[in-house]
Symmetry: C2
Subunit: 463 residues, 2 copies
């Protein structure tokens, strides 16, 4: 008997009409009367269940009919197309083998649970409908990102997580060590901590970004991207912060800020398009139960042409607005959440805000000719605010060094990064896309903890 | 003037014959006489350079002809097809704009450098031919892995790196902390280290595997894979060990050891096939300069049907061999490198060695009915030895708990993992594929440090 997955059955049920098939999976639901019953079965390969009809013709009908949710079975039967029923086909079982019975104290019964409760059973919640939708979208979106960059000739660069450079000051970084922290740390004769027997022989940190290493690869392969986990030690307990998340950081040689915005727009639309095509059931579910109007929001994104304005123009618009602000708009300051919201509503679509005051942006961003702003750009989208942040990179050795000194950073730690401006310098740009923020935008999920399989946040590191 | 990439020109040069095109890139080589010269240019998008012909008709001919290697230019000119020349086409420049001059002390001049030297300029070595080949193959192979699993209905699961579970004993794990290790660690009133103000409020580690978390996802999505960086703190200075590497860990529900081997074989062949198709220039280079016979080795892999033998049979064969061993083959022991080599030579191809003595394998592997062996399998390939390691997982709650206790592990730390055997248990299997070991096999590179962009090994954490 040929074994099929739920996905294969949904794809090919017309071809399989009246054929005998076998399927293994988990019981998602079971309704029975004395002589027959209906099992909703799933093997995790597709968002929808299949219906298995059982009857007392089965020699183990009573045992099967008593099975609890999430028991596993192997069912063989005839595929019958049921055109006018809720489901397009069903399996009329001729044999059901019980593989395992699920304990009765299964903590994920078929009822509505709160998101908070589901976080306490993070090992089981991927089985709940919401997380079946969210984590499949996560997988499809991740692959769409790889597809986008690979098809466009980018090289996937695996930049390191472990670093010894603490040029920005290590206070805020995660430290990594093989020393036993339950004991006294070893000391040098001067009374300092002795790192010489630590694995790398010196103090070691976790990087919060692959950009600098990414630029070295862009200076060899032209167009590259990174996509990997990022660990940041911020002590922020908000709905949008996690201490472990995934990030995409493309870097493109011979590319200025305008070309960068073209790429960002193209990339975001590609990802959203792929998810809409490949996760229609999941998006339907999210639209119904998570964010009403989600599908329309995403469809509208695909049709819109993203507006491009300077930071200064954004502040002009905010200042002219006939309303009170919690944070007064300021030409020298960042945009607050309320500002981002207003700007995307004002333009009724995604907006690139570019050319920011240099003092509130990073040292590696290209100083504009005005000497006051840098060629940075944030993409703001309706409903979620900033979703991508990028910039043209400073490609002039002396200017970059000056900026590093202005920020009181230790240039010697990143001489290799400065070197890229001596050896093959070129106009180049890159951006960062926080994968979880993107997923929150695409699924409508409001808390970052619910788009990450096992979220890590301050004081929370379970499982 | 339309801007093209080197890759686009190689793809479309016949269509572009006699058209005027523009290209930006790095000078890889430059030969000149008084009145004309040849520039080999590349923008990183393709393994081969393109030839730009310059002559004294350019108003800045003298400046251009003097440019050093890895200076950047923007060249415009006519594409001329040159059928009988070494390169299929060239660009006859009508205008060359100098974008940046590379400093004369550029440490990567066009001559043969040792691999050891190149590691000291890890930020520049991706520009060298060897690393152009290796890191593009790395990117293509990584995407092939995603393609393989996505096309076959697997969900990509992002398992966490940060963990608080130390059930196997934390001595050997990396610790992660936000405490200042340069100062005395805070103490509780009992004199123990006080982790309560550490970010997660308790001692935190880095996991060495995503398998356990992966299994939770397999119990929801049926087929899943992970693909991410793995940090291990082993103090091993060998050619095959690094402290940061990438790993792929698929987990498949309703899948036994035989089906697992089918998947492993299919997956490996898919990756190799994709690399051969998409990196023919790079593989050609590796075959010529890194491992003679590489292409043949890979082609042979695609054609072979992998042998499957029990560990016991492997030992039988080794014991019958008419030769001396450094390590005597033993029914209760692991295979040494020399044994792996002999076995793959004996069968003249890849060999699955399965059903290993339980005491030398992990607790989570399925105990066979003999009570002595576990359903584990290692794939040995000619030239590289073990490349994949997998097993059917113990799906019986009580047997798994017993094995955990036998290994003196703390079961309470992974109750959530045990739970999978109470709630929806099923025959399931998975394997691990070390991405760098695979790359060493595919490229012929002998040291793991040379297939990783910025390798981290004991006492080595530069850049």
């Amino acid at each position: 008997m040929e074994k099929f997955s739920v996905k294969e059955l949904y794809q090919d049920y017309l071809k399989l009409e009246n054929k005998e098939i076998t399927i293994e999976g988990w019981i998602k639901n079971l309704r029975d009367s004395k002589t027959f019953g209906f099992i909703e079965l799933n093997d995790g390969t597709f968002f929808k269940n299949i219906q298995i009809v059982i009857s007392d013709k089965l020699n183990n009908f009573k045992e099967v009919a008593k099975l609890s949710i999430y028991s596993t079975i192997k069912a063989t039967g005839t595929l019958v197309v049921t055109e006018n029923a809720k489901q397009p086909f069903e399996i009329q079982a001729t044999n059901v083998e019980i593989l395992s019975e699920c304990d009765r104290d299964y903590p994920l019964q078929n009822k509505r649970h709160t998101m908070e409760y589901l976080r306490t059973i993070a090992h089981l919640r991927p089985r709940a409908n919401t997380f079946q939708a969210v984590f499949r979208i996560r997988s499809v979106a991740a692959f769409a990102i790889h597809e986008y960059f690979q098809k466009n000739g980018y090289v996937y660069a695996h930049t390191p997580i472990i670093t010894c450079a603490d040029c920005e000051g290590s206070a805020e970084m995660f430290k990594l060590t093989t020393m036993d922290l339950k004991k006294e740390l070893p000391k040098t004769k001067d009374g300092e901590t002795d790192f010489s027997n630590d694995l790398f022989g010196k103090e070691t940190y976790i990087t919060g970004s692959g950009q600098l290493h990414g630029e070295t690869f862009a200076s060899a392969f032209g167009k590259i991207y990174t996509f990997g986990p990022t660990l940041r030690s911020e002590n922020s307990n908000t709905k949008t912060h996690a201490n472990e998340f995934w990030m995409i950081e493309p870097e493109i040689s011979f590319c200025d800020l305008d070309e960068l915005m073209d790429i960002e727009e193209d990339c975001l639309k590609f990802i959203v398009k792929r998810v809409l095509e490949q996760c229609s059931e999941e998006i339907e579910f999210c639209d119904k139960f998570i964010e009403k109007g989600l599908k329309e929001k995403l469809a509208k994104l695909l049709d819109s042409e993203f507006v491009r304005i300077d930071h200064k123009e954004a502040i002009d618009i905010l200042k002219k607005a006939d309303r009170k602000w919690e944070f007064e708009p300021d030409y020298e300051e960042d945009l607050a959440k309320e500002h981002e919201k207003y700007i995307t509503e004002y333009f009724n679509g995604p907006v690139f805000v570019k050319n920011w005051p240099k003092d509130i942006k990073s040292y590696y961003m290209k100083l504009n000719e005005d000497g006051k702003t840098v060629a940075a750009v944030d993409l703001e989208v309706p409903g979620s605010g900033e979703i991508m942040g990028g910039s043209q990179r400073e490609d002039d050795y002396d200017k970059l060094l000056e900026r590093i000194k202005e920020k009181n950073m230790d240039a010697s730690q990143i001489q290799w990064y400065l070197d890229l401006r001596r050896f093959g310098s070129n106009v180049h740009s890159g951006f960062g896309l926080g994968f979880e923020r993107l997923l929150m935008y695409i699924t409508g999920i409001e808390n970052i903890r619910d788009v990450i399989p096992f979220p890590r946040t301050p004081k929370n590191c379970d499982f």
